[in-house]
């Protein structure tokens, strides 16, 4: 194939000068152009690999045109076979480009499937994490069911000593309460503040009420309607543990959130 084509190329080059008069200027140019086109596809290893039949036909037509060009009065035939040769070269090129595109597409398709799988996995992971988060939230809200209703206790550690402002460490639990209230729009809450027995009665009443109010404020800030929130301060009343020990006093310093039932019925205040 290669040898034959090379021989043909040389023949073409050698023949051209003398052919000028044989087949005319028009056929001469056509033959030359077909030769150039054929040379290009013949030297392309991809074309030879993918479209060998088209290359062979281009060569055969070119050889025919070349042979005819040595005869007088054969101009039209030379142009015709040169045209066919050029067409075969072009078809070979198109077939090659198409096949190369398909080869690349096959690789890209594998890449696409790999990425799609990775994306699905990452989405699944985030959904699982979300599911876990919701579960924790429910656990945290699964507070004690007392005769007062569903009660959630915010511990002493969420406030600084003597201060009413809720610390940043309470953000997580506050967000959970907000989400719970958003998911249960009919429920209302009563926020109750308590202190230990250290300090004066009036101070303790005020501190307990201020702490309860600061929890209520945060809930309102986060979008809960204030009409759904009652606030009470009980000072050192209703201790849950003895005030004799530090541990007991810490237990007594607390804010309790009493949730109504699903219909919005809240137990009576103490």
């Amino acid at each position: 194939m290669s040898l034959k084509s090379n021989a043909l190329g040389i023949l073409l080059l050698a023949g051209c000068a003398s052919l000028y008069g044989c087949a005319g200027q028009h056929s001469e140019a056509a033959l030359q152009q077909a030769g150039v086109d054929f040379q290009k596809v013949k030297e392309d290893s991809n074309v030879l690999r993918i479209a060998p039949k088209d290359v062979i036909r281009a060569g055969e037509s070119l050889a025919r045109a070349d042979r005819l060009s040595t005869y007088w009065g054969s101009g039209a035939d030379v142009v015709h076979y040169a045209y066919l040769s050029q067409r075969y070269s072009e078809i070979a090129r198109e077939h090659t480009n198409q096949a190369l595109n398909e080869e690349r597409a096959a690789k890209l398709e594998l890449e696409r499937q790999r990425l799609q799988l990775a994306l699905r996995e990452s989405k699944l992971l985030s959904v699982q994490q979300q599911g876990k988060w919701l579960e924790e939230q429910i656990e945290a809200l699964a507070t004690t069911q007392t005769d007062r209703g569903l009660v959630m206790t915010l511990g002493d550690v969420l406030f600084d000593t003597g201060q009413a402002e809720l610390k940043n460490s309470a953000n997580r639990v506050v967000l959970k309460i907000v989400q719970f209230l958003q998911l249960n729009p009919k429920r209302v809450v009563r926020i109750e503040g308590y202190t230990d027995s250290t300090g004066g009665k009036q101070e303790n009443l005020k501190l307990s009420r201020d702490r309860a109010q600061s929890v209520a404020d945060v809930l309102v800030d986060l979008g809960i309607d204030e009409k759904r929130i009652q606030v009470e301060g009980y000072g050192d009343q209703f201790p849950v543990d003895a005030n004799a020990s530090e541990r007991g006093r810490a237990q007594n310093r607390r804010v309790e959130i009493v949730f109504s039932d699903e219909k919005g019925q809240l137990g009576a205040a103490r």
Binding site: L84, R87, Y88, E90, E94, A105, L108, A118
Partner: protein, 93 residues
């Protein structure tokens, strides 16, 4: 003539139209002229026109198929870019 007709039918089957692919226009014109030459009993002209029309049609078909394979590549590339972007967004979160 039969081969030419087949080539034209095949090219049309993959969606080659004379309006969009110039080679298809050539193929149809030459095929009609070839039929005219046959009617005039100008067999040599008929054969040459039919042969050229056949290859014009085959080239038209090949060009349409190459274009389709390019479009397929573009679609795949677009999808891959989008997937990579989404994966990066996922990692950033």
């Amino acid at each position: 003539m039969r081969l030419t007709e087949q080539a034209i039918v095949q090219a049309k089957a993959v969606g080659a139209t004379a309006d969009e692919v110039p080679e298809m226009q050539l193929a149809e014109t030459k095929y009609n002229r070839a039929k005219g030459s046959m009617a005039d009993e100008s067999y040599r002209n008929a054969r040459m026109r039919a042969e050229q029309a056949e290859l014009d049609a085959r080239l038209a078909e090949a060009k349409v198929l190459t274009k389709k394979s390019e479009e397929q590549l573009n679609v795949l590339n677009t999808r891959i870019v989008r997937l990579r972007k989404q994966l990066q967004l996922g990692e950033a979160q």
